[in-house]
Symmetry: D4
Subunit: 247 residues, 8 copies
């Protein structure tokens, strides 16, 4: 029984008033019309579902994929191992796997790509995380420009690309080691920069802590940071921003 | 001598070719036309200048304010002490001071406020940082909705406001202590959330470290984090996003 | 010789006074009647023994199980590997193993379950720790209600369950990542909340440190925290509280 | 307009059905009868209100006290400075101040004290935090037994008190330096122990971190931990537990 | 040429004075009579040599053992893997291995054991480290009393042993988890306590950090701490102290 | 009623047996003759009492001093502020104060000094902590040799003193900054070294953490560490060791 | 089209002035003659290229080696696994591998070695990192003196070598555990010391953090630090310094 | 009696051989000709002495200055407070004070400045530390070029100066906040870079930890790091390197 029915019954005297009041208070929240709690679903509407594969049992993961697959919607699994992919692929041969980004995908319909997001990396080792960001953005319908290996230790590479980068609505800057890239880009751009520290490095890098702190302390304006190695988070947020720009 | 003049001289044979080449390489970069390096200035165009007051000597700070003031542009000083304000006010009586946010301002012309940014806080102690964010956004021409004291320890307060919050183009969520607010908001919104940890707390809060980590580890999608107490950074980035939406 | 005998001898002049005094001082403490030191044993009376399996050699572990088994009492082993279970099962076929919680049990008699404890988790990955808590509570005779996957990133799921949760005498709230669940529950309940941070997460989670700090810094009232992944500790303490309520 | 009125109007055809539905969805949550969100208020019913004074401006704090005072309910302010007390006392001469615990109170009616909570400290320097816990518990109607300065460096003092301590329904154990007290007590008791680390110490104590870690890592069963110096939190939670036992 | 010879040559005019001076300055330090730099060798005299095996290649380790073995002196290898032992044993069948402490030994002559050192542990998991301490002390001629599994979570076990423990000249107290044992022992003894934190634990134990901090912050007098898991260091230092007492 | 009396009554049938048994179990522990718990008091016997002044209220501190003073025993207060000294001195003019070590003393009888302890520092800034160690050792009857400012950055200073240092029964090595002194001394001595990290330093010293870690990780044998700045602890423990050597 | 050509066209009126200006601004930076950005390449001129192998796929790594190899230049790969070496060696049999330092090299022409760099280690376990430093320096044409196993726990070994060490233009000091070596050397030398902390150690070493902090806090003058285990960085910088001395 | 005299006596039979041998071994090290231990003094020869003022009592500091002053040598005091300067200046009016760098100096003769060191800062707040470096280098006879406020958030400022910076023999790069400057400079230079993190920043800067980690993790080659705020250390080491280049 939803609210409409309930009110109808009240109107028609088919239900006692105190009974109606009590029922109303016991309904699950979403039944009360809290569609507003689900607004963010709209972002995904027509795009598909995302599954975080790491730590899930293969059996469980395959079942999730099958369930979505039967509904004919796009599915993207992040941080999938090759073993997980192979189990999925055995049953759903249309599944594709990208070893670099560890993304497994079943694309029923490829969304149109609009706007522009620039995804940049400091080094080649950061590309795995960057691809998670880029492919997430593309999955949700953003156009992505990749600008890889433009780290600050050889700043001229970055300088020669900055004009292109600035054409994007939002910039995702991915870097490990000292993590200086996002700050340098933000200093040369007026577009919002989503900074992604990676765990690439050794010694006093402390598994990405060094890059994380660098990015949080950047003197440049227009930069915000996501968790270490969180390419998905950066891809998602940059899509939110990109969509604001193109709508 | 700028590039145009130089090329003219080359054209007119008034300068030796190798000499021109050498001169060209020695010009400061900006003279080479690297306006692209200054794109972010455009954000501020027509809005004014921002000065980080903390740690600056009063004498030095007053001089900066006077220099901008003579050019008749808006000036906003962040993290200003009352003493700094008084020194500025003695010479520039039009300067205003907000003790809560520690912002000192001289507004020559109030910019039109467009779009919408929601600035939320978990508790009343976070309002100082939130005001730095809100007033920064307003300084650069964003319209701001303040939603204060809606922390997750009394979630019903937040729930009753969430529909309004979701009308904004970008949400700034400010919280100290456990710092859970931005994650909970992001879970109920499809707009990008800029999370600002504050140093409010004691004990195992470790001066904001706890809130910072909470925000970085949020399971919700669409959230990125700035430095502890960095209201200015959040206000600036949310304006960049807001502008993308309204332009 | 216990105290009673000793005093009897004194009374009957069968022992020299100074000799009695000396003997008295040398008796092991427990012989002096320090049953009070063992009060907490009473909690377990009629329920059985718990063994922490991790790090114990298989040989040693099997011997412990056999020793208790021969006394016909219930035994619960926590953090048992499959190998450990198999070695136990080979000799004691009545042993059962739950892969999720890594608990191996031999239940001679199932205790009556009284009162009510709610065990909640933020995500599905936290269920392993939650089950350790839930099954510990059940082992010691508590009735347990499981409320899993109600994390704050989708707060409506939690809201629709909160009335049920509040019926429990004590709430165990298990969460990894940002660890905000216990604080949000405590804000909506007047029952004591035992918070369990888990090591689920990556990057700036630092193996559960982030969740731990979040829980310690919660603004909500009525929350206390156990060690990261310490499901057993939470199950035990919630049983102590539950028993106070039902006795 | 509350729900009852609204339903009445529906029943009496005084309101359009779709209008009623819309109104219903827009009502603040609490108006929807979410008294369940406020269950924890019940704990305080008849006891009064608590205010965290630290960081609040004197002006603001005095206003809060006056507002509660006019309603004739008990008020307790924690972490109040002497200056804050004096400002309150100037207007409300019935306000009392305890310098040790930094609590300022206006007690309109002293609640009956039921059950029993034991509040123990390792050293004399921990008494400030312990008193915050004890007086909080008393404010909410718990009977409190104080057992101070029984730290583990002189274990015989604790041993001679343990039988008394075990008579309580819940034990609050407060300790700085190495913080071993709660674990030792839990090893000798079957009652739940709320452990409170304090920031008392120097050097490798790191402002209470050492005590905090000790308590979280205790091998003893039946112990959970609150934030460093959080006497109020321990007092509140022990009252929740005590009330379960006496009701 | 040693100093004596040199001076003799000077005396006998067999060497030029400036030449003698130059030679003198170039002699390796030890040749200058810095036997004092080697005083600590005396501790080992007649006892043998100790080798830290961890991280050494098998080939290299075997060679070291052979070299000492040929000189007919006792050898003790700490932190030896089973593989390392087997390689040694293949060539030197008299080598013995203790899996618990990971010590491999070749004892040519068993030293007389004098004085008394008590080696205590909190739990059974700490015995590996305790045995490294105990066997090191024995290797260098100390008599050792083992008092294992007397952790503070069941304090009566410790209390019943404390009189025996106090008979030792020096106490080695080994504990993981919360690490409270050494402080409690020091509070009941007037003998110096060498505290050894172990890495036994999980979660907020942070690989022994918790135990280490507990021990450093102990309120008890007469306690000093060695590195996490450093049984050898504790065994060595306690022997130094024991020898001062018996000489 | 002590044990002797009680047993006498039993013997004389003046008390019921079950009554005697019950009384026995209720006696405070110390009354049961647990003098063994107080063995460490023996160290102090004839020497006096030590008071940790920091954080104590002046009023409270003066009272403690007066109470001991009336019993005509030596008193040493550590970490006393000048204000605390002055308050003590006003009533007990025989009190002496050493600003460097912040020790306030009332010496009724100067104990004979036996054995030898060497107290060494790396720099001159470490002398405050070193003096706390040295004067503590002297207070308890140890002879002390001071060897200050022999840090490893100018190793020749240390080398020229090492022969003297090695004459001591125990060495206290105090160092801030990088904290390398104790390890270097231990490498040149066969006497036990008590290492005391100090909080002297800046930047990556992190208030003594750097020195602390250095000392815990020393490769040299025969070294154990006390808390940062804990001169008293080192002085006490070195006295325990020194006494073993001279008795 | 480079600058020279462009200017020539301007001179010859073959290009429109505004067109020339526009072209100029769009040229990649390096085309603008920013050879100065590449000065550091000069260091390598005539020496060859260095590749960081760790984390690179074998396939990718082999391709890099082949590409350089075809140009007949020297190649050095650092942190290469044996598997990586074998894959390279299969195609380029002239490749050599050093298991200790994990360096794989193809040397077309051995550079003349000039100047002098001393590479010292505290222990034998630090040699792997030291060899990375030494062989890097040699690769770039520096003469290297190796002084291994001269740690401060046996200072006489270092003292007997210090005169030789001081003959170098630059000293690389490599140490794990407590990491005191570089500071002690700097105290006895007037040559710049590059300090390399290693991750050798256990417990409170925290993977090299302890050594790192020690070196940063050294009281000695003339010492600077590179990342934990960064032998390459030390070898490179010491070569820069050595070259300044010999040029 | 020095070595020469001693040997002369031996030669002349004025001293017994065994007596000579014994005397020889007891001489302070430096008397044995360990001038080599003092080589680093040579750096200072003709330049003067440096005193670290922070933490020294005014009385003590003045005495040190007077003692050097009477010998007519240059003196430089680092980290001097204004009060310390004033006390020095009262007795030695020739003393000069620089508030920015907190250096107090008495220059008897200004040394010739040779070679070139570039001292760069990221922001204006880093200038205090940079000046300590620059003035230290000048004190020891290096020529210094100051390049301030060229942080990476506005990279064009740095780019326009890089050619000049590269003319130096050694570069000191000083930066707080994210600390990216040294890495960016090293990427554009082939000269050794001494990186100095400063404690300028807030929040997740953790008093310079962020900058320190950034610099240690730099991907650029030719960079080594000193302690946070250690301008003196950088000035000294850069002088050592500069001198190697100019000698």
């Amino acid at each position: 029984m939803d609210i409409h029915e309930l009110l109808l019954k009240v109107k028609n005297n088919e239900i006692d008033l105190s009974e109606a009041e009590k029922t109303l208070k016991k309904l699950p929240y979403e039944d009360l019309g809290f569609a507003k709690l689900d607004h963010h679903r709209m972002l995904r509407s027509g795009f598909g579902e995302v599954v975080y594969c790491s730590g899930k049992s293969t059996e469980h993961l395959v079942k999730i994929f099958q369930s979505f697959n039967e509904k004919n919607i796009n599915i993207m699994g992040t941080r999938a191992s090759k073993e997980q992919y192979e189990a999925i692929n055995a049953l759903m041969p249309e599944a594709e796997y990208d070893e670099m980004s560890r993304i497994v995908k079943i694309m029923r319909n490829v969304p149109e790509q609009t706007g522009l997001i620039a995804v940049c990396t400091g080094g080649t080792s950061d590309i795995a995380v960057a691809e998670e960001a880029a492919q997430t953005a593309e999955f949700f319908g953003s156009r992505v420009m990749r600008v890889y290996d433009v780290g600050v230790a050889g700043i001229h590479r970055l300088l020669s690309k900055i004009e292109d980068i600035n054409k994007a609505n939002c910039i995702v800057a991915v870097a490990g080691m000292e993590g200086a890239l996002p700050g340098v880009i933000a200093g040369m751009s007026h577009k919002p920069v989503i900074a992604v520290p990676t765990s690439i490095g050794y010694g006093a890098n402390f598994n990405g802590l060094s890059s994380l702190l660098t990015m949080l302390n950047s003197c440049a304006e227009g930069i915000a940071v996501v968790n270490i190695d969180n390419g998905f988070g950066a891809g998602y947020m940059s899509t939110q921003i990109n969509r604001l720009a193109v709508q």
